[in-house]
């Protein structure tokens, strides 16, 4: 186990370096720059700004500088939001996105897993068809449609839910619902198909032949075997969801990391782009390691090497 974790940490460092390198060069290949959009800026002022942030140096030199300081934990200052470091922006915005995202993952799991099980148990019956149709819709309908439809009905027509910001618990309802739609539907489908597979296994027949009751068979013998694909999906999904959705944050005016990331790209805020990308990559890698460890706990046949 210790050997495995050491190996994963080394691999993680290599992966993050590769992601950072790729992002750095791709980002610099895109035309434009952080200070082009500013009004009434003289060429001298622009040159001074570029010199201050080291943007006048050749690309490879800048890359080396960035990697060296990033390796020391310094992700630099934001180019657009003067006087603020990349780290301070991430630590300020991430908790907001994480609250909304975390809640929506929780909602997707608590709805998706039982509904998927029910669909599998009632295979071919009306319940199964209804759940399957809802799941297909959930996967097919994009989140901005769900957001606007909800806003129209609950925010404008009925006026029961606030449409922007995150001040009270009520504010969370619509964004969380919108964000959980897709993952709930996806988990439901995963759960249904893996549960159907497990229900046909010989050891389920053994469990029945032992005289166990239906609930015990389902929760002890079926669920643990059927949940593996869901675990695989939820790990990376959690990483993406808690870092914020641009669409949902934009529509509901939530000051989260997702919106910040897109703003950084549009404004060519190079350091912020790098910072958020590395942050997301790290999170995904950490989630994958956690998934592997959970896998090992759920299914003893899996060996971590």
């Amino acid at each position: 186990m210790a050997k495995y974790i050491v190996k994963r940490i080394i691999l993680a460092i290599v992966t993050i370096w590769a992601v950072a390198t790729l992002t750095f060069f791709l980002m610099n290949l895109v035309p434009g720059g952080p200070f082009l959009s500013e009004k009434a800026i003289s060429p001298q002022a622009q040159a001074a700004l570029e010199a201050k942030y080291g943007l006048d140096k050749p690309m490879f030199q800048r890359y080396l500088n960035y990697v060296t300081s990033a390796a020391h934990g310094d992700f630099g200052d934001s180019l657009k939001q003067r006087g603020r470091t990349v780290m301070s922006i991430i630590t300020m915005k991430f908790p907001v996105s994480a609250r909304v995202g975390g809640l929506s993952v929780l909602v997707s799991l608590t709805l998706g897993i039982p509904l998927g099980c029910i669909a599998a148990l009632k295979r071919g019956k009306v319940t199964d068809s209804v759940i399957s149709v809802v799941a297909t819709c959930g996967i097919a309908v994009p989140s901005f449609v769900i957001c606007t439809v909800m806003m129209y009905f609950f925010g404008v027509k009925l006026g029961v839910l606030p449409t922007m910001g995150l001040e009270t618990a009520k504010h969370y309802i619509m964004p969380v619902t919108a964000l959980s739609f897709y993952p709930t539907a996806y988990i439901m489908r995963l759960m249904r198909s893996s549960m159907l597979d497990v229900l046909g296994q010989d050891y389920m027949r053994t469990a029945r032949a032992k005289g166990l009751a239906g609930g015990k068979i389902l929760f002890k013998h079926a669920l643990r075997n059927a949940i593996l694909p869901v675990v695989t999906y939820v790990g990376p999904m959690l990483a993406y969801t808690i870092t914020g959705s641009f669409v949902v944050e934009k529509i509901f005016v939530i000051p989260g990391l997702g919106g910040e990331f897109i703003k950084a790209i549009n404004g060519r805020d190079y350091t912020l782009i790098m910072g958020t990308t590395i942050f997301l990559a790290t999170l995904v890698i950490v989630m994958n390691v956690i998934v592997d460890i959970i896998y090992k706990i759920v299914d003893p046949r899996i060996k971590l090497k």
Partner: protein
């Protein structure tokens, strides 16, 4: 009533599939006394397993019991609710399945899977159940039981897993053990060991066994009585001697002809039964075996033969025996 441990009378069971009704069991009757071993032989799809599963109330969807009575140890199985059945399953009737590789849950330890059934049917606590599980593993001939209890199924060989399955089946000292082709998935040396173990345990614990197999060698060495099944019917039923030395049904005769014998000459060919099993979706009107029978008569294709009995336990359903009786009757007059 109490005379027999198992008394199945005229059981009829069908599977209602989208393609139509599959008549899996037609008028199946089986009697078995305590401590007896009954072999059910027949080819795939002849209804061997379905008979046994229905006795445990484990008929799979879309199967439905249409008629008949199933008595077991004073219970009337077909009238019991699932909740009542659960008290019998794994307790009074146990089953060993064909494939030990897939019959154990891969994510739980052997110990967990054995103690589960003990805790369910007895009021032993965890510690006592564990002690019993260890005892059971010793009983089925598994070495280092303490270590095995903590292992997972994938860490054991096929033969060992089947021993564990037997341990689970015997955990509550059942009156009846159903063995559904327990050795089919194992290699020959392990097969012999497992059969030997089953017979040994039968003598030790005094349970009855229903042995489902398509291996006539297995039934010959183990069983006191044999039921030969074909197309969801018991075509011949009798003691092992009756079946092997005085077979009365053409199908039984065919089966016995198709076993290799020690005295077979070197280049002599085995005689197989020609043709394929009947389609139970559209069973023929007369005897189901008639299309493959080399002694079939006109009446065989038209009408189902009645039961002809030879002594107390040996009976068969074949027109040829009726013919013999007719002739016998005619010559007496």
């Amino acid at each position: 009533m109490a005379e027999y441990l198992v008394d199945i009378k005229n059981e009829r069971l069908s599977f209602f599939t989208p393609a139509g009704e599959v008549k899996a069991l037609n008028d199946v009757s089986i009697q078995l006394k305590e401590g007896e071993v009954l072999g059910i032989v027949g080819e795939s799809g002849s209804g061997k397993s379905v008979t046994a599963y229905s006795l445990m109330g484990l008929t799979a969807h879309p199967g439905k019991l249409l008629g008949g009575e199933l008595h077991f140890n004073g219970h009337q199985i077909e009238k019991m609710t699932d909740k009542e059945m659960r008290k019998i399953r794994g307790n009074e009737i146990s089953i060993i399945f064909q494939d030990p590789m897939t019959s154990l849950n891969p994510v739980y330890t052997i110990g967990n899977q054995i103690t589960e059934v003990i805790k369910l049917h007895t009021d032993k606590d965890s510690k006592q159940a564990k002690a019993r599980a260890k005892e059971l593993l010793e009983l089925v001939g598994i070495n280092e039981p303490d270590k095995r209890l903590k292992q997972y199924p994938h860490e054991l060989s096929g033969g060992m897993r089947q021993r564990v399955m037997i341990a689970i089946a015997l955990a509550c000292e059942p009156k009846l053990l159903i063995a559904d082709e327990p050795t089919t998935a194992l290699d020959v040396t392990i097969q012999a060991q497992i059969l030997e173990l089953m017979m040994e345990l039968k003598d030790k614990l005094g349970m009855a066994i229903i042995m489902i197999t398509h291996d006539l060698g297995v039934v010959a060495s183990m069983c006191e009585r044999i039921a030969v099944m074909y197309a969801g019917r018991i075509v011949e039923y009798g003691t092992t001697d009756d079946i092997f030395y005085h077979p009365k049904h053409q199908y039984t005769k065919g089966l016995i002809r198709s076993i290799p014998r020690l005295d077979t000459k070197e280049h002599e060919r085995l005689i197989p039964i020609e043709g394929t099993p009947v389609d139970l979706l559209n069973p023929p009107e007369g005897c189901p075996f008639a299309p493959r029978c080399d002694a079939a008569m006109k009446i065989c294709l038209r009408e189902m033969p009645p039961v002809s009995a030879f002594g107390d336990v040996h009976y068969t359903q074949c027109w040829l025996n009726q013919k013999e009786e007719f002739e016998k009757g005619a010559s007496h007059e």
